[in-house]
């Protein structure tokens, strides 16, 4: 973790397996069941089971961050139903943004409301961070999992540091 502003730290996440499942409700049900969930999470929510986490990014789409065992069970669970299963592990890079001012950093790059009441813990959505498409998942009140396409990584990191610089400046006492 690197502190980019007072009360806000940024870290790159280690490589992880990411899978996109697309299909009708039966396919999403099967994917959720294979992770140990009763049902797929509702729109823009995350559910975590023993086999990993399922992130509901669209009405017919789940992003799955499986554990090693969860990955193995997914193919078998989806085999009987029509579906699309694409591995996008290498397409994305993840960042972990933590601290009391983490929401302020994101708010500097994105028009979404990051108040806890409108963007609660366990909410996930795709949106824009400045000009780059990004996925934002609130894992805790002061902790965000941010994912962007790999080639946008350095750009988004630079933009977050730029906002952090502004926040640091605004906190200066003269």
């Amino acid at each position: 973790m690197v502190e980019i502003a007072e009360g806000c730290a940024l870290a790159g996440l280690p490589p992880m397996v990411r899978l996109v499942v697309q299909g009708r409700p039966a396919a999403l049900d099967a994917a959720a069941a294979s992770l140990g969930l009763d049902a797929p999470p509702p729109m823009l929510r995350v559910a975590s089971g023993v086999g990993g986490s399922a992130l509901r990014l669209g009405p017919f789409e789940l992003l799955i961050l499986p554990t090693l065992e969860g990955r193995a069970g997914l193919d078998a669970a989806l085999a009987p139903v029509p579906h699309s299963l694409v591995e996008v592990s290498d397409r994305n890079v993840g960042f972990l943004l933590e601290g009391a001012r983490a929401a302020d950093i994101l708010a500097g790059l994105c028009p979404l409301d990051f108040a806890l009441s409108s963007f609660p813990v366990g909410m996930v959505t795709r949106t824009l961070l400045d000009k780059a498409g990004a996925m934002i998942w609130r894992t805790d009140a002061h902790s965000f999992h941010v994912e962007v396409w790999r080639s946008f990584g350095p750009y988004v990191e630079a933009q977050m540091r730029e906002v952090a610089k502004g926040i640091s400046f605004s906190l200066l006492t003269v």
């Binding site: 823009l44 990014l57 669209g58 009405p59 017919f60 789409e61 028009p111 979404l112 949106t127 824009l128």
Partner: protein, 93 residues
């Protein structure tokens, strides 16, 4: 900036969306005349008033949906899913 109410994600800023042109244009059968085909491809109503149009939440859920927008004021009247009929606004608009 327009505030667009995606039927799947809720209200979002316009920059997350891509415009998709006029909605409810049925694709004709493959054996129609060239005149009818070119009308399907190119001829639009250019409505002044309430227009049914397609939008795509390209930086969000990725889905297409339809909206009723007044082209004179940019005010949205309704948002509805693809495949559902145009809502009847009655005398409201």
């Amino acid at each position: 900036m327009l505030l667009i109410d995606c039927p799947y994600c809720g209200p979002r800023a316009e920059i997350e969306f891509a415009y998709g042109g006029e909605a409810h244009i049925a694709r004709p059968a493959a054996d129609v005349s060239e005149v009818e085909w070119s009308a399907f491809l190119y001829l639009r109503d250019n409505t002044k008033g309430v227009l049914a149009e397609r939008w795509r939440h390209s930086h969000g859920c990725g889905r297409f949906f339809n909206a009723l927008r007044d082209t004179r004021t940019d005010q949205f009247h309704a948002f509805y899913e693809i495949g559902t009929p145009r809502p009847d606004m009655g005398g409201a608009v």
